[in-house]
Structures are given as C-alpha cells and as structure tokens.
C-alpha cells in the first residue's frame, strides 16, 4: 500500500534529556524519522526538551517545540496546530510512556490525532512484564519461569516458590532501572523493595535466572502487510546477566548455527506478527541454552532502540528512516534500499565484516557506586568498531574507548596473579575483557575462563587467545628484527603500532608506522554496503582494515576536503552536544564548497549517519587511524574545534606533521590549555584570575596552597568535566587529594587555584574572526561557584549581574580572543566576587553550551562559526537576530537513580548526564524562583 494520504502532519516525540539508558541514539532515530517524513511532503512537528539534539534544530522540522515532555505540552502543541498523527516510537521509553499517558487522558481522541507506528495495546503487551509473559505462553514461546508480584509479601512468596538465583524486574522502567539479581535469601528484601519502588505501577516480575545462557538480539522491521525482515542479529559477548546496554556485543552473530538462528528468527517473526497493530522497527531479545540450543524469549521492544541505532550503523540499513515510512503506510517492498539505491528495502543485510560494540562507563564520577554490571544499565556511552575479523574489530573498539587503551591489553601496568585474575573475572565489571586477556596471557585455559565467567562462549575466548599468541610472538622481536609477514598478521589482528612497540619494548609509533608503510603494510578502506559486495553501492561509508590485496574502495576525489574529528564515545562532560556541533560543521563545510569528511566511532550519533558528511570513516578517533585517513585523503585541513577535548588533543600531532588545523591555530589552543601560559597571558592583558600554582608532589602542593590561600581547588591538568577535581581547606586535605590524584594519574601535573568561595559564576560563548568579536551569549549560573558548570542551572542571558559586570566580562572575553588569535569558537568561564570579574578558564572550541545558545536564540551559530574557521567568511556576512523573549534556563539532568547509595552531592566534578532547556517569560516564573531559592542547597563541603 502506498503512503496513507490522509496523514499530512505528524508529531514526533523525542526522548528528552540524556540519561543512562536513553541517550543520543534517539536523537539519531528522531532526526532520521523527521527527514524521512518530510521527504514525503509531510509537515513535521517535534517536541523534545533536550537542546543539545539535532532533531530540535529548526532545519529538521517544520516546527520545533523545546518544551518539557508532559501531557500539558502535548496539549499545547495540539491546540496550536492541526496535527493528523503522532509517531511515538522514535523517542524511547519516554515517548512511549508519554503517548500512553496522553491516551489515558483522552488527549489524542480529543484532538483527533492518530497514533501511528504502534497502538497502545501493542505497547502494553510488550512493556507490561506479566502481559508479555502471558502472551508468550499463549503463543507457545518459552519464557523463564516467573510470577508477577504487586507487593513485598507476594514477591517473597514467589521467590520461595521459584528458587534462587532469580531476577527482579520492575515493570515499565527504563534501562532495567531497579532490577537486579538475587543470589540468595539474604539479598531478597532489598532487591524486592528497590524493584517495587522503581516501578511506576509498583509491580515486579520475580523470574528464574537463566545464568550461563547466551544472549542474542534481533533487530526487525515490520510493515502493515505483515512483511518482516531481520536487519541484524547481535550476539552478546557477555552471557545472560549483564544488561545488553552494558554488554560487549558483536554482529553478525558469531556462534549461531543456522538451526539455532532460524529458530530465533521464526520465533521473533511470530511475536511481531502477533503483536497487534505495528509498523516500524522492533527489537526482540532471546536467551539460548548452549547445551541444548533451546531458546527463551526475554523481551520485545516495539520501537527503535539503542540496539537499532547500533544495527543501523553496523549494517548500513537506516532502520529509523524506513520505520518512519512504514508508519505512514508504505510496505517494505515499495521502498528502495537506501544504500544501493537500486535494490529493495525488503531484504536482510549481509555483512562481510565484524562489528564490536564496547560500552563506555564513568564509574570514576560516582564514588562509591557498585561497579558490578548487572540487569540495570550503567554505561554512559559506547563505541563501535568495524574490522574484517573479530580480533581486529575488538582491538579497534578498545582503541576507540579513550581510556588510554592501545588495544586489548594492559601494557606497563602491574598484572594480577593468575588466581587473582580468575577470581576477578567471575564478576562482570567494565574491564573484564581486559582481565580475560590477561588471564589467557597468564596461561589460564579457555575452558576455565568460560566456566568462571558463567559461560562466555569459547569461540570468543579462542579469538582472544589468538591475540595472546600473537603478542607472545611479537615480544620476541625488536623494531629492527621484526619480520614483515608477522607484522602484517599482527596488523590484521588489529594491533596498533603503539601497542606493538610496547609489546616489543622498542621503537615508537611513528618509526614503526614508517617501517610498515615502506613495506607496503598500509590500511585499505572498505565500504559498508548492506549486501557484502553482492551489489554495487555508492554510499561513502568506510572502515579500515589490512588486506594483502591492497584493494581500497575509498576513492579520493579531486575536490578540496576538510576532515571533522568527532568526540568518540559519549561520557559525562562530553556528549551529544558535540554531535550537534559536528553535524552543523559538516553541513557548513559542504555549503562552503568543500568535501566534508567525518571521522568518529560513536554509533549513537547523527554525524555518523551515512548521508550527513560527503564521506564517513567509521574509525577510532585515535592517532594511527586518523593519520592514515589523512595520508589517504590529503585534506586542506582538519577541524578539531567541534569534537570536544577528544578532537582537540589530537591537534598537536597533526600540527607537528604539518597538517593545517582549521580555525584557531594549535599554538593558540595550547596557550588556553596550558595553565601556566594562559595565566601569563592574562597577567599581560591585565585580566584578573584566581591565584594559582602547579605542583608535582604533596610538599609542593602544600606550599602552593598556602601561597594562593585556602580554600583551594586541586585538580589534574588536561582532564574532562572536572574529573577528580576537589575543593579543600587545609594542608591535610591537600595531601589526601594529591596522593589520590597521583595514584590514579601518575606523573600528572597538579593545578592548585585559590577558590573564590561563594562567588558568582558566569560564562560567555563567542566567535571571533580576526577582526570582529561576537558574543553569542552570556550565561549566569544560578548556583554559586563550587559546582561544575555542566551541573549548574544556567540562565541566558544574565539575570542578576550588573550591566557593568557583563560589559567587563565581554571586554575581557574579546581581549582574550584577540590575544589568542581565535578563529572560530571560544568559551570563557568567569567568577565574580565582590564586584570583581575573574577569568577561570578558556576553551578554544565548541562548548557544551554552544547548542543551547543556538537553540535559545534561534541563530545557526555552529554554521557561522565553521564558516569563519574555514575562512572566506567574516562575521559581518551574517545576520544575528536573537529571538529569545525572556530567559532560557539550561537545567542539568542526573542519572543517580542508577547508582543507589552514591552520594548525590554536587561539586567541582561534573556528574550530570544530560540537560534540558526551559523557557521562562520573566524572573517571576515560579520554576525559576524555586531554583533560585534552592541555589545553595546542592553545595558540597
């Protein structure tokens, strides 16, 4: 059936602020859906409270509502517009819950709005644990033994009946919130109570734990004619027991026979066809008993998800884009494969590579958090790597993680003993795969490890063992003696040059690279084409690998090119806002007439969609990979201002290799980043700054602290989001803080600033083109200093600072921008005490608040800034009509509920995972007044 012509306007519900379990994958989905619907001439309305998203950009929809995700907001939108249908399957659990709430309130009916993609009955069937179970039993699909409890007593009774180990799963929660394993009687009470409390309807499922079974996910699409395709089968490296968002996952499924796979496929299709009214993307999870190959259904999600974003990037098949078209009536066979453009969208992608996803955790931000992985998701981001073998992909994924890993393995760190390791890997933690590799290196057998880990499939362990065997072989050589065929094999297994040097304890990354380049061992670039080369595809989506054939599919054009570096995995302090910046950067580069090339490894992002850049390299934002792309493409230059600290820190090496940094030069960036050079500059410019000093030892630190006067702020240099930053008030605490810092970051230079107690904080984002200085926005923090800027409520424009202070800030900002010779973006943080303005720091790049300001004022600042960086445009070429009436507040959003028992106090170290925007007319706004009243409540000691 072609498109349903009665649908002329659609409301898409977004997923709101980023929290653990619901991140920028829904921006990716919503953005694709909006583009897909507008392609059909449908008017798209969008609601989302998250200002850092691309989907809420004016270019994405006909009308964007940056409003809280509440039934009231929905009603307001329907009141103001004629809307035919609502698409609730793109915004995660939040959107589904909101759609359900609006349904319960009769809002859809009142405004005559149709729910498309899914109906409420289908949502209930899938989301309500008990209904799901009953439904499965009815269909004859096996499920784990379980019972639904609505009270503590009931739960206890069922637990006795079912027996341990068991699982508590709260109904209607996100990312497994409140769920957990119960291994014995002693843990039951707490787990039951937590689960019941977490569930909005006070309901939990008490379920038999299927520990040791393997876990799989299928990503499917179904149209209203009951056609179903499986886009991707994903296998979890971690067996049942670890939330799939916290599991290392692999596609295609590596250890499934056809018999086992078809059983899963058939079951999933039956489930989808029986779901009720549904047209779109769906995810089904199964557990498989490795002894008997029987399967049980775990859950079904009748919407696009984190996994579907991953599956889209893993296969090239744009699931959300097609899902949106199915929601408006199209059948799959009426649509084209978006990659080949000639073949049908009704097909199942074939892969001729392996993808590995590794989650990224931020436990360092949540002191005291239980870092054991379980049913409740705890990671804040993820990386995906593509290789032509599992070994290559897994090592590339490690190189993408940005935790200093040079591959799969610890180098130069003290290793645990074999017995310790064997104990350690029994409990799933973020570094388990690294420890498994250590255990294999220590000679522990694959069988023993598989048992200890409760069933990690031996095949994966054999593959990791190959890495170990190779490592042992490499360690016999030095740079001079290293045989080239061995090096070729090592590179095919994903070993980085740096890693090989560390293993050999000889040579440098550069010297090894030059050596292998001379021997012809270079990366080739292969295409992600959905069809394993069966058909010709022209989509410029590439990954690197090593092949003796030397056949590379990434043809270099004769156009002038600019590379944009992405920001790697999302984490606290560096998230979706940089994806927003990269997308706009890419579009601006295209508009400026250059070929835009994107490099990033984060599968949740819009900037790694295959049709945003002219060319996409899905690669680690890691020197070695970047450098071979640069050598291959020979760009005019590289933009590092849009990819956060990750991109910025690669500037130096690029600069040293003679590659042009587009916009602000490397030297200027270095001044801003180097505390000593920066303070010297401020001194010269006659700009006040808090007294500071640097130290490398406890004694030095105490000396500096006494010189700059207490209280002092102690922190390591070159870190993200105020990591390990502490405010201390005496010598004893300084000692403690410094000892802890040196332990975790040995050799790091420690910065000690005088802390301006109870001062006011504010920041400016600005653009400078060499002549003109433009202040994008002045934001005043509601909370006093001491809370990280990312965790503060910030008001745009300033609401309480005097005009004189604002002018002084702007004046200082301009002086700094001129002195640093900024070309592009700069963010400057200020402290104001007793009427005096101090500069705390400057970031010569896009900041967390850049998207917020662009949204609040409705000015395409990222586009303008990118064009200034490239040159050829001046600030005077653009118009600036700031459209904000009243004020915009940036509110931090936290995910503390994932870490019960963690101190929720805020401090100089950033802890929020996301943000929302809220517009207020004036300062009499009750929401604002409450915030203002409570402004000192969050201060930590």
């Amino acid at each position: 059936m072609p498109r349903d012509q009665s649908i002329k306007s659609v409301l898409i519900i977004g997923s709101g602020p980023i929290i653990i379990g619901q991140a920028c994958e829904f921006d990716y989905a919503g953005t694709q859906a909006a583009r897909s619907l507008r392609e059909e001439g449908i008017k798209v309305y969008l609601i989302n409270s998250n200002p850092a998203t691309i989907m809420t950009d004016p270019m994405m929809a006909d009308k964007v509502y940056l409003l809280p995700l509440t039934a009231e907001s929905i009603e307001q939108i329907l009141e103001e517009n004629q809307i035919d249908a609502v698409l609730p399957t793109m915004g995660g659990q939040t959107a589904l819950n909101l759609a359900k709430e609006a349904e319960d309130l009769g809002i859809w009916e009142k405004y005559n709005v149709r729910l498309i993609g899914v109906d409420i009955k289908a949502i209930d069937k899938a989301e309500d644990r008990e209904k799901f179970r009953q439904w499965m039993i009815q269909m004859g699909v096996p499920v784990a033994t379980a019972k639904t409890a609505n009270s503590y007593l009931e739960g206890k009774e069922f637990a006795q009946e079912i027996g341990f180990p068991l699982v508590i799963r709260p109904s209607f929660t996100l990312g497994g919130t409140g769920g957990g394993f119960v291994h014995g009687k002693e843990d039951l009470d707490e787990a039951l109570n937590r689960g019941l409390q977490a569930s909005p309807i006070h309901e939990v499922l008490v379920e038999k734990a299927v520990l040791g079974w393997k876990e799989f996910e299928l990503e499917l699409l179904r149209d209203s004619n009951d056609n179903v395709v499986i886009i991707c089968a994903v296998e979890n490296f971690d067996p049942m027991g670890v939330h799939t968002g916290d599991s290392i996952t692999v596609a295609p499924a590596m250890t499934l026979s056809d018999t086992a796979y078809q059983l899963m496929r058939n079951t999933a299709i039956r489930m989808m066809r029986d779901l009720g009214n549904f047209a779109g993307g769906c995810n089904v999870q199964f557990a498989l008993n490795p002894d008997t190959e029987e399967i049980i259904a775990i859950e079904i999600n009748p919407r696009v998800s984190r996994s579907s974003a991953l599956a889209s990037k893993a296969t090239g098949y744009p699931i959300a884009k097609i899902a949106a078209k199915l929601a408006i009536g199209y059948f799959l066979d009426e649509l084209k494969n978006q990659i080949t453009k000639t073949t049908s969208a009704y097909f199942e992608p074939a892969l001729d590579y392996v993808i590995v996803k590794i989650p990224r955790w931020n436990f360092d931000k949540f002191k005291g958090a239980d870092d054991t992985l379980g049913l409740q998701m705890k990671s804040v981001g993820e990386v995906m790597a593509i290789g032509r073998s599992f070994t290559e992909a897994v090592q590339k994924a490690c190189q993408s993680l940005e935790n200093n890993a040079v591959g799969l393995g610890y180098y130069g760190k003290s290793l645990m003993h074999a017995e310790e390791l064997l104990e350690y890997i029994k409990i799933p933690k973020w570094d388990r795969i690294f420890r498994i590799k250590d255990a294999l290196m220590a000679g522990i057998s694959v069988g023993t490890i598989s048992k200890a880990t409760n069933g990690i499939d031996r095949w994966f362990l054999y593959e990791i063992q190959k890495i170990c065997t190779m490592e042992k072989e490499l360690s016999k050589y030095k740079l001079e003696s290293l045989p080239m065929d061995l090096l070729q094999d090592a590179k095919r297994m994903g070993f980085s040059d740096e890693q090989i040097c560390r293993i050999m304890n000889d040579g440098t990354e550069d010297s090894l690279y030059e050596k292998r380049k001379a021997a012809g061992i270079k990366r080739v670039f292969k295409m992600v084409d959905t069809c394993a080369a069966e058909f010709e595809a022209k989509t410029p989506y590439f990954y690197s690998t090593f092949e003796s054939s030397g056949v590379s599919e990434s043809k270099v054009s004769d156009r002038k090119k600019i590379i944009v570096l992405g920001s790697g995995p999302n984490r606290i302090g560096q998230g979706i806002e940089f994806d927003y910046c990269c997308v706009h950067g890419l579009l601006a580069i295209k508009e400026a007439g250059y070929e835009a090339i994107m490099v990033n490894c984060n599968p949740e992002t819009v900037s790694t969609d295959f049709d945003i850049a002219d060319k996409l390299y899905f690669e680690p934002v890691y020197w070695e990979h970047l450098w071979e792309i640069v050598e291959h493409e020979k760009p005019e230059g590289v933009i590092v201002q849009l990819g956060g600290q990750t991109a910025l820190k690669l500037a130096e090496r690029l600069h040293n290799k003679g590659i042009k940094i587009i916009g602000t030069s490397f030297d200027s960036m270095d001044i801003a980043e180097d505390r000593g050079r920066f303070s010297d500059m401020l001194k010269e410019l006659n700009i006040p700054y808090p007294n500071y000093g640097t130290a490398h030892s406890v004694d030095e630190a105490i000396e500096v602290a006494n010189r700059v006067l207490y209280p002092v702020l102690v922190r390591p240099s070159y870190v993200l989001g105020g990591q390990r930053m502490r405010i201390v008030i005496n010598d004893e605490d300084v000692e403690k803080a410094v000892v802890s810092l040196l332990k975790h970051l040995p050799g790091n230079k420690i910065l000690i600033d005088h802390f301006l107690d109870r001062c006011q904080e504010a920041e400016i984002d600005a653009i400078f083109d060499g002549d003109t200085f433009h202040v994008m926005g002045v934001m005043e923090h509601i909370e006093p200093a001491g809370i990280h800027s990312g965790d503060s409520n910030a008001v745009l424009p300033a609401f309480n600072l005097t005009p004189l202070i604002v002018t002084t800030m702007e004046h200082y900002a301009e002086k700094i921008a001129r002195a640093l010779n900024i070309k592009g973006l700069i963010n400057i943080q200020f402290a104001i005490k007793d009427g005096k303005v101090y500069v705390i720091e400057a970031n010569p790049r896009a900041s967390r608040t850049t998207p917020f300001i662009a949204k609040a004022y409705q000015i395409p600042y990222l586009n303008i800034a990118t064009k200034i960086m490239i040159g050829g445009h001046k600030l005077t070429d653009f118009k600036y009509e700031k459209k904000l009436k009243g004020f915009a507040i940036k509110e931090p959003v936290f995910s503390f509920n994932k870490f019960p028992g963690v101190n929720k106090e805020l401090g100089p170290e950033m802890k929020s995972t996301g943000e929302a925007i809220r517009f207020i007319k004036d300062l009499r706004d009750p929401y604002f007044r409450q915030l203002y009243k409570d402004r000192s409540m969050y201060l930590s000691k």
Binding site: N225, S257, D352, R388, Y462, A532, E534, S549
Partner: protein, 370 residues
Amino acid sequence: MANSNSQHSAILVLADGSVHHGKSFGFIGTTTGEICFNTGMTGYQEVFTDPSYYGQVLIMNNVHIGNYGVKDTDIESSTVKIRGLIGRNLEELYSRKTANGALDTYLKTNKIVAIECIDTRALVEHVRKNGAMNCIISSELLDVEELKKQLAAVPSMDGLELGSVVSTVHAYEAGNPDAEIRIAVMDYGIKKHIIDCMVERGAYVKIYPAKTSLAELKQFNPDGYFISNGPGDPAAMPYAVETVKGILNEEKPLFGICLGHQLLALANGVITFKMHHGHRGLNHPVKNLITGRCEITTQNHGFGIDPASVKKAEHIEVTHVNLNDDSIEGIRIKGKSAFSVQYHPESTPGPHDSRYLFDEFIAFIRTEKK
C-alpha cells in the same frame, strides 16, 4: 584465522589470470571449479553439502567460517559437494557444544582444498564485475604458470550436465509407507531437507535416479511429482526435460525447485540462460504476486529462465518475482496444478518464510485425490 605459523601457503588463480596468495586450510592439494560466492551468514555446512554446489569453488563473504564446527545432522547430502573453499578467516576452533567436529578436520576428511586470508570482498567484487569463471586453488603446487596450464583444461560450466552425476544411483524411499500421499521425486542433486519437508507433511516419497523413465515412476503409483534442484546447465539435460513433459501429461500435481523450476520452464518452451554471476545467499527478497506478501529466500542458482520467453508463453503465469532485479522466481502452468520456484523454500540454511509452498503442494495433491 587458523594458527598462522604452522600454515602452508596456498594460491588461487582465476581464469582471467588474476592471482591471489593466501594460506592453506583443510586438505592439502589442488582443486578446480567455477568460482561463485555466497553471502549467507549462517549454515556453511549445509551449503557445502548442497549438491547444487557440485563443481563450484565457493567464496564465503561472511568473514568467519567454522566458528560452530560441524554437526552430523546439519547436512544436505552425505558428502561435501563444493570443490573448493575460499575464505577470509577459516576457523579451526569451534564452540558449539552439540557439534561433532571441527571444520578443518571435516574438509580434510572430505578432501576439500581451501584457502584463507584472502581479501574475499575484493574477490567478490571482481566476480560481480567480471562474471563467473573457472579457478584453481592449490596448497601443494605453488607455480602460477603450471596452475594456469591446469586451469585451462577445466571445462566451462556452460553446457555442462551434472544432474546425473550427483543423482542417487538407486531409488530409495522416505517417510511412512502407509501414508495417504505418495510423491515421486526426480533427483538431480536433491537436498536432504526438501525430502524432509515433504515427509514432515505426511507424504511417502520415493527418490529416483536422474535418468529414470516415466513408466518406472508410475509404478510407484504417485499422487504427485517433485522435480529437484541440482547443479549444472538445465539446457544440457534434454532427457530430464522429456521426463517433465511426460509428467505434465499425467495431470498430477507437480512441484519443482531451482533446477526443477528451470526444467519445468524448458518443458513448456521457455528458454534458460547462464547468469552473469548467479544468486547465492540467504537474503534474496521475493514477492508473491498472488498474495502480495513478501518472503526472504535462500537462493543458489547460476542459471535462470528467460523473462522475454516467459512473457510469450501464454500458458505460464508468473507467481513470484525477485524484488532486487525483477528476475522470475516462480511460475505456474495455467490449467494444471504444476508450479515451481527458482529459490529454495526448504531453505537450510536460510529463512523459513517460503515453506508454505510445501503446504500448497500437499494441499494440491489432497484436493486432486478427492
């Protein structure tokens, strides 16, 4: 990848002169055949034992093959039918608990020469652009010129009759002899699961050698006839076309798969042709024109039936088409309960979307019996 240190070198040479160096796997020796590729991500063992692959040297696009070993029941015939195997990473070690052995041992036992560490993606593209051609793999003889000489002596698949080579020598039965329904099966290289699909649906089947006469088939007193899949060029099998013509005159239900589909077409005056590089995989989209529903199908064919020629044949109705290239995937003979599909509804390996065709076949038989 198997352990790189203990491996021998191996060489692959294509008929167009291109040479690829890799590492040996499986049996040490030399093998020749027509190169083709399969994009499936599961079911390698079923593919290797599928008689339709007889005479083919197979590239597996999926980069890891062998991960779950081999199992006695995951077969489509009793021996490995491919002539050689080309892979990126062929795995010695496997994890499946119900498996009976490793792929490497299996290939050695079956004397199948394989080569790995090949840029299979580049090779597949080469075949896609230049078409199917003969090739030679050797892990014992590493002299390219000598290999080229041996390769030159290999006959082309075009015009090659292979159905009778892989067919059963003696007729045999499967299923319950007391079953209501009896089906005579022409074996030109039948896959085991096709027989299973009929038996599971309550049929008693007798499988006959390729050159069995119609008179002999009739002695079984069949209620329906099945024409199997198989390797080689259908146009080189006039004997089989005659058999199918004879069966059609019997006015009993007839179902053909793959080669069987091509033979049914030939028997109705439609011509066949050798495809550029064939369809081989588990993800081919087919639309059923009668129901409007779509199915993901398993395919393995290097020949097809000519669309222009089908158009001219007024007594043939096209029932299924390929959504990727519009090729004809299913036909029905008007006025008869004879139908066939180009793809493999029994799958194994592959999606079970099309197994309803066996239900339809059985239903036809039941109706006609009444």
